[in-house]
Symmetry: C2
Subunit: 322 residues, 2 copies
DNA sequence: TTGTACGCGTTATCAA
DNA sequence: TTGATAACGCGTACAA
């Protein structure tokens, strides 16, 4: 491999002059600069980025740490890579399967200078363990997290869920069945708060219809339809954990000959790719904007500059299931 | 940052001995090894991987080059990261948006030793351009490609499409409408060959029903339903480019009060995540196995060993739309 | 404006 | 089995 010394030699200058000419930093006379550039072209020179990283202490690489990279994360991934590449950064993946040991591997990659920073999407480890690593580089979370050293780009789902509830109310639904995800998650708790406030605002009985908890798959949705039939049709609308649950409800309803929204309304959450196919009314979640914020935070720390982050907003996407 | 010299000093050995003790390569007496290890633990030592890469010439990092990282690629990504991590490798993303200039950036990353190898999912550049870079490291393609220097893990879609056609035939459908993707793609051509052979085998008229070309979105599927209604219902089954087209057909049929499979059957391709929700019969495509093959090929070249690759097989997933 | 000299942190070579 | 020494390729302080 041809290196910068050979370029310097062929151009008849010193390696440092060659370095300056190639990187554009520092003073070089136009004449020598040209000599260096042509020499580099002739010898098919390419800088060794490992040497650059070793020398400068920066890799211009950030790590994305997630359980896996399928939906709905693929949008976040795509968004993060987009922001990163726009600024000359690159994204390296660490897949944990929600396994704490694998999470440590990603943190170690930061410590070993394989990446300059980390974006955690979701994790299982103790927050304090993760916080121990911020001394090696910035760490940002997608998951909602409260820690002064670890910024989070989460969105308060209170707002999004309220959007769904208000929409159902406006459409005349009064017996709303909440299908919640994992109860220990802060997101779920925010949604529960939203529902409580919603009931207070419109003077509704919060217990008019039972709720479900820890449901997040299409299969869960299917079961809920059968429950609904076997229990005297106790709801006229479902506000769902996510589009998967909503899809399960719709799919099973169709199999059983029920009609949406005549028999009951369904509102999803996330606006996944397939939501339009089911004509699913849902809450849109600007995941790419979150990714771009995550990158902005990282870049502002690494390069020690001020960068604006734009607070993302939930949006109701009205289709035919409500 | 504490480095290997400090470890050596504290353990009372030379840096080279410390290196051997830490890496496990070369002879070190048990006693000194222990001294080094405890010193490393006490000083909270972590090796600088940039220095290691510079010295050894290997990064244990491979690049994944794709237009974007949403479905159906997220499965390939996940599969590749899985295989890579199992073997101590890491995956870095390059998103091209099918832009040739961005593809060159990925190739340059290989040349500049940011990654040891590249996996191209899909590309627009001339194959010869890409082939110019194999001297810097192995390059493997997902896309079907014929080049001695660039192995491909493509699957011949002839087999998969034939599976779909045979299934439709067996179910009694005789007026099959083919919905093809981009005609210049080899995959599409394979499917066309499959259909020709299929007609020959069962003595069917290949022109009994018109075909569509260059269709690959849900919206395309929706249009096709309207075409079908306006043209005297000329088909009793649709063999689709992918699950998106199939979903579009099903969704639009439902909106128009048509019934699947009574009015017509629909067979998809890819078995995407949402296929079960639509009860879509489709052809399953073991993308993760392809990813694992891609990695096996790369590893066998990098480490100069023989690794088996397992030829992946298409599988018919029978649901309710046929 | 240019060149010398050094250091980034590690591993490989080779002689002892 | 160990240690001195060199080298990987680059950037940069400093002197000229």
């Amino acid at each position: 491999m041809t290196n910068i010394q050979e370029i310097a030699q062929r151009a008849g200058v010193s390696p440092s002059t060659a370095s300056r000419a190639l990187s554009g930093r520092g003073y070089v006379s136009e004449e020598k600069k040209q000599r260096v550039l042509t020499a580099a072209a002739e010898l098919d020179y390419a800088p060794n980025l490992n040497a650059v990283s070793l020398k400068t202490g920066s890799t211009r690489r950030i790590g994305l740490v997630a359980p896996r990279f399928t939906e709905p994360l693929s949008l976040f991934t795509t968004g993060l890579v987009h922001s990163a590449e726009e600024n000359g950064y690159t994204v390296t993946l660490f897949m944990t399967g929600l396994n704490a040991a694998k999470e440590v591997e990603a943190l170690e990659a930061l410590r070993r200078k394989q990446v300059d920073a980390l974006v955690f999407v979701m994790f299982q480890s103790d927050l304090s363990l993760i916080a121990d690593y911020v001394k090696y580089g910035p760490i940002v979370c997608w998951q909602r997290v409260i820690h002064e050293a670890i910024p989070s780009v989460f969105m308060n789902q209170y707002d999004g869920y309220m959007l769904a509830l208000e929409h159902l109310y406006e459409r005349g639904y009064r017996r709303i069945c909440n299908v919640y995800g994992a109860t220990q998650r802060l997101n779920t708790q925010s949604r529960m708060e939203a529902f409580a406030d919603f009931c207070r605002k419109y003077d509704l009985d919060p217990l008019a219809c039972p709720s479900f908890e820890n449901r997040d798959t299409a299969r869960d949705g299917e079961q809920i339809v059968r429950w609904w039939l076997e229990n005297g049709r106790p709801a006229d609308a479902f506000a769902c954990t996510n589009d998967w649950v909503a899809s399960g409800i719709i799919a099973e309803a169709r199999r059983l000959g029920l009609r949406v929204p005549e028999d009951f309304a369904v509102c999803g959450f996330d606006n996944l790719d397939f939501a339009p196919l089911l004509d699913l009314t849902t809450i849109h979640y600007p995941v790419d904007e979150q990714a771009s914020n995550a990158f902005a935070i990282i870049r502002s720390r690494i390069e020690d500059i001020e960068l604006p982050t734009h607070p993302p907003r939930f949006r109701l996407v009205e289709r035919l299931t409500t």
